[in-house]
Symmetry: C2
Amino acid sequence: MGTEALDEFSLIRLLTGGRQSPAFQRAGGVVTGIGDDAAVVEVTAGRQLILTCDTMTDTTHFTPVTMRDRDIGFKAMASAVSDVAAMGGTPRFALVSLSMPRSYPVERVHSLYEGLYDCANRFGVVVAGGDTTSSSGGLTVSVSVIGETEAGGALLRSTAVPGDVVFVTGELGNSAAGLDWLLSRRAPASSWEDVWAGADVELRPLIEAHCRPLPRIEAGELLRQSAWCHALNDVSDGLASEAWEIAEASGVGMDLLEERIPLSDALCRHAAAAGKEPLDYALFGGEDYELLGTAPAEHAPALQMKFKDAGMPLYLIGVVTAEAGSVRLIRSGGDTVPLEKKGYNHFAG
Amino acid sequence: MGTEALDEFSLIRLLTGGRQSPAFQRAGGVVTGIGDDAAVVEVTAGRQLILTCDTMTDTTHFTPVTMRDRDIGFKAMASAVSDVAAMGGTPRFALVSLSMPRSYPVERVHSLYEGLYDCANRFGVVVAGGDTTSSSGGLTVSVSVIGETEAGGALLRSTAVPGDVVFVTGELGNSAAGLDWLLSRRAPASSWEDVWAGADVELRPLIEAHCRPLPRIEAGELLRQSAWCHALNDVSDGLASEAWEIAEASGVGMDLLEERIPLSDALCRHAAAAGKEPLDYALFGGEDYELLGTAPAEHAPALQMKFKDAGMPLYLIGVVTAEAGSVRLIRSGGDTVPLEKKGYNHFAG
């Protein structure tokens, strides 16, 4: 059997399940281990570290057509930082591991690091170390990020409660639509900037969403500080998949309202031109890195006000139900359709 | 220019130099950043975290002839844990990033994780998270380890002082000799166990040194607690290279005594059979993961006694001199020869 037969979670379970007992992990300081966006560990009373890592590899995550070298670096850092945002934490330190062919051009690696640091500096992350090795295959960049919260502050995905509203911190589907356009264009990503010099300027938000996503650290911190947020995830694998993750981890159901799911004008224009359904990008596309979460309905207005005051949007897109195993989309016309658990999956393809 | 034209340190300098000012890093909590075995960061007063990562890739670090899958996992964890030992720290948490072809057999990944956890459990390291992705090339495994010490406790490589003795915690060259034998044998590493059923049982320590190295955490902690250790490194790139690293980082010189460098009987027998110089394996081979350090001469006897009491060897193999830029070998016959800075280098080959 090859790993393509398993989804990522099954593989992780297969590889890590039962290896170290919960008691061992607790004794070792783990507050939240494998199974959420990042691990929470306690080294000193009162403070908790958030540990996470994210890897991007040639062909699977990027090609010369979809990303410039500096985008690869930026996004590798952004996706690991986003895991810290998804815990409501503050990212502090990063370790970067780069493995690449011996003949890999230095200018390209340099550009990649330019992007890594661009993202790290934007979020106050110190690149504290790393490792570079040669590989016989393509480029692989792995970023570990260490973040922190006060003890007990981390926001998990397993704490949604029936009656909660479901919210998202920004438009969904832009990244997948941008990828779609880049792939259909088939031109080197290095000619990217030409796009907004020409008639395609309106595509810019889609391409930027795919190549230079901005993790929602500020939103995550606001949610943690509000003490009103129940469950939280970042949207790395599409809304449907993330909604299922929260629902399953929390033992609840979720109803999402089609008309409330925020889609950008650029996405809708691209979808129309490509003859595709705009909502599909949001539901099944992924890599948006917005935060998807739940909060008690009574605090939703105040939470939206907090976000408004901070200059950030917060869209209420659904409700948490008591029906475990039911994640549904309420269509604009009123029809209710079950949502499939699919999203982007590296192993099941 | 390709990366093969640069050694790893030059590449790291090129990629990270000047990106984040020392003031920014200090403000971010970095006590020791890029340039030592691992980074030391301070999150809470009184405790310091040690952050490090290490990557192993197909062909560069292992082949089907040199390592079984469980050895790959064991050694990937061991080499990252060894960086914590080299700081005198205690390893606490690990993040594992695995990238592999979609068709990679699950049993093989499972064996690899078997080895990862075998090593982690042996050293009390909690595997707190990770990431698995598919790759178009071979297997890449990257392990980040978070360790800790009391504030100010980490042992650096830049603190050797003229007059110090140079010590090492175990025999050197075994790993390189083991690799040599495995490569010359050209049989699948999975048939490894046959070796000690047969006439080659005496090779076992060499092969184990290469495939399942044991990081010297206990020795590192003892050195830190003694408060007598000045500089410390782990021997990942050969004695010559590591001696140069300490000498350069500390602005000192080093004289090593050939007759004091500990070589195993197995190594000497293998070298004789292979028609090679035993000492070359120790000086230029690498991946021994013993600790190489310096300590004030007046405390050397007491330090050796402490090690003896703990059931561990400590070999005194040289002295630190004031002659910066001079790393020499004093031959058994009395000749003095300059030692080349070479060692295993992934990029300069």
